[in-house]
């Protein structure tokens, strides 16, 4: 196809960059991978970047009195600059973590650690009477850390509900976001329904009340252009492995003034300024939040993934996925007995399509699809409360990325029909 920016978005060419897409699965069938929402595959450029780090520069970044140590530090810090540019941020605002999950926990633990920190951390203190606001559509990674923060501090957890069609229910927004609200934590795209909530609108309401806004970008940053200034939160978490990068590294972006005032979460080497037996002082951000030897090879791999995605053009990536999603909504929606969860159009909706099949449990749907070489996820997708709110126990989920084709969407729909025949009552 020719894209919005006039370049050819050649899926066949893209697929050739992903070695794993060449392998066969059950019964020698080609792999139809519709589970990128769980983890994406890696193009050769990312694999090569990681390997090059190990074969050429391998050393502990930010330590070592030798050339390799300098090189490792240089490429690690260059990766920070690259990732910052990917989301329109300053390099000093990029903290490398283990995962998006760890990034979200980092914020939550900074808030509770503020209770025993100096006056600079005052604005992060929460306790009885304060409220933490989340949504019912969160991935457990952006829910459980806030539940735990409330448990540790005595703050109260509140949440936005969802409408029957899987949108955020904003009808009580003015009541939910009040003077007691200290934190608003919200997904930038549901990993189940693909719903894209109005993060900017909610951030504006929250900021008017002095609350801090945390956005979970694990399902948005890989799939469409994200500019943190435009989006409007104070923090954004995402992970490399869902955006063609390596596993083992995630990113926390935070506004500089907030990061500077935040107490650390994980402590140890790399993050200290002066250590005495009586106590220690800490480096400024981002180093304050990066205890231990940095995951430099993974950071370099992530930077290569940013290069790869930017070469495709994130608007083109988003357009390709929107076309696949529209196709999937049509193809699945046309099957009697299939219920698609969440919005039925691509309006403010990304490429996660979860559905139920009457009379067939999602595990059984997933198993039959697997038999046909089609990889999907089948469970509650780490979003149990959302499933409960939508009145289902679990669902089958297809998620799309740069390497997926329209033929694969058709294969999915055919597979669902075969599954229905297999489990039809006798």
């Amino acid at each position: 196809m020719t894209t919005a920016t006039g370049h050819a978005f050649d899926v066949a060419e893209i697929r050739a960059d992903f070695p794993i897409l060449g392998r066969a699965v059950r019964g020698g069938r080609p792999l139809v991978y519709l589970d990128s929402g769980a983890t994406s595959h890696k193009p050769r450029a990312v694999l090569d970047a990681e390997r090059d780090f190990y074969t050429i520069h391998n050393s502990a970044a930010h330590r070592g009195a030798h050339l390799l140590g300098e090189e490792a530090t240089d490429v690690y810090e260059a990766a920070r600059v690259r990732v910052a540019a990917f989301i329109g941020a300053e390099p000093g605002e990029i903290v490398f973590t283990k995962s998006a999950t760890e990034a979200l926990n980092l914020i939550a633990y900074s808030f509770s650690n503020a209770a025993t920190s100096g006056p600079e951390a005052e604005r992060f203190r929460v306790g009885p009477g304060d409220e933490v606001l989340v949504t019912e559509m969160e991935h457990h990674a952006n829910l459980v850390p806030w539940q735990q923060l409330c448990q540790r501090t005595g703050a109260t957890l509140r949440w936005f509900g969802v409408t029957p069609d899987g949108r955020l229910d904003l009808s009580h927004a003015d009541e939910l976001i009040g003077d007691r609200t200290k934190i608003v934590a919200i997904t930038h795209q549901s990993n189940v329904t693909g719903t894209v909530p109005p993060v900017g609108q909610i951030a504006a309401l929250a900021h008017a009340r002095g609350a801090v806004v945390v956005a979970d970008g694990a399902q948005s940053v890989p799939h469409r252009p994200v500019d943190v200034a435009e989006l409007g939160p104070d923090f954004l978490a995402f992970s490399a492995h869902k955006m063609l990068g390596p596993s083992g590294i995630g990113v926390l972006w935070g506004r500089r003034d907030l990061l500077e005032a935040m107490p650390p979460f994980i402590t140890g080497g790399s993050m200290i300024e002066v250590v005495r037996m009586e106590g220690s002082t800490f480096l400024p951000p981002p180093q304050r939040f990066e205890a231990g030897v940095p995951a430099a090879a993974q950071a370099v791999g992530l930077a290569a993934a940013c290069d790869y995605l930017d070469a495709l053009g994130m608007p083109n990536v988003a357009a390709h996925e929107e076309a696949l999603t529209a196709h999937a909504l049509d193809a699945l929606g046309a099957i009697r007995g299939v219920r698609v969860l969440g919005p039925l159009t691509t309006d403010h909706r990304g490429g996660a399509v979860s559905f139920t099949v009457d009379g067939v449990h999602p595990h059984d749907v997933g198993q039959l699809l697997d038999e046909l070489g089609i990889a999907v996820r089948a469970d509650h997708h780490c979003a149990w409360p959302l499933h409960r709110a939508l009145g289902v126990q679990a669902s089958t989920r297809a998620t799309f990325y740069v390497y997926n084709t329209h033929d694969e969407v058709d294969a999915l729909a055919d597979g669902v029909r075969q599954t229905q025949r297999f489990f039809a009552p006798v």
Partner: protein, 161 residues
């Protein structure tokens, strides 16, 4: 299809027409087990009786939400253990666990397992083993509680609630 080695006809039969489904009383213990991966759940009751000085399984009933494998396995389990002494039933349960952990390599003992041998194919799909074990593990837990008196026994004649 290869997958038919897992979805054997007897499994699909039990799935479509489950045995002993629907909670009933009296019982000596009730437990609720959940598969945290998918949210599948089973509520299961066990009633014990005395069989010549040895505890035996008088009744097992359950209510469950889940996939074909977990539903069929719970159904087959009730047929396998009701009427056996607890010792015999635990032995069958151990044989089933062993079969599930065999990765399709075991020679299943049909004498001990009865219809449960049909689950042999499941052992080749590691992601589904927990499904097959859900009902069996609930039964084991409920029986242990019934034996040590922590099962919140109920004497009444309870219709499914």
């Amino acid at each position: 299809m290869q997958v038919e080695s897992m979805y054997r006809e007897i499994i699909l039969d039990h799935y479509r027409h489950p045995h002993n489904k629907g909670l009933r009383g009296p019982y000596d213990a009730q437990v609720q087990h959940v598969n945290p991966l998918c949210g599948d759940e089973v509520t299961l009751r066990v009633a014990l009786k005395d069989a010549g000085g040895e505890p035996a399984v008088a009744d097992v009933s359950y209510d469950a939400l889940g996939c074909s494998i977990s539903q069929a396995s719970a159904s087959v389990m009730t047929e396998a253990v009701i009427g056996k002494t607890v010792r015999e039933a635990m032995d069958i349960s151990a044989a089933f666990l062993e079969l599930m952990q065999s990765r399709g390599e075991a020679e299943p003992d049909e004498g001990r397992l009865g219809d449960a041998v049909a689950f042999e194919g499941v052992s080749k799909y590691p992601a589904r083993i927990k499904c097959a074990l859900l009902g069996w593990m609930a039964w084991k837990d409920a029986t242990a509680r019934a034996l040590d008196g922590t099962g919140q026994a109920h004497d009444g004649d309870i219709i499914a609630d």
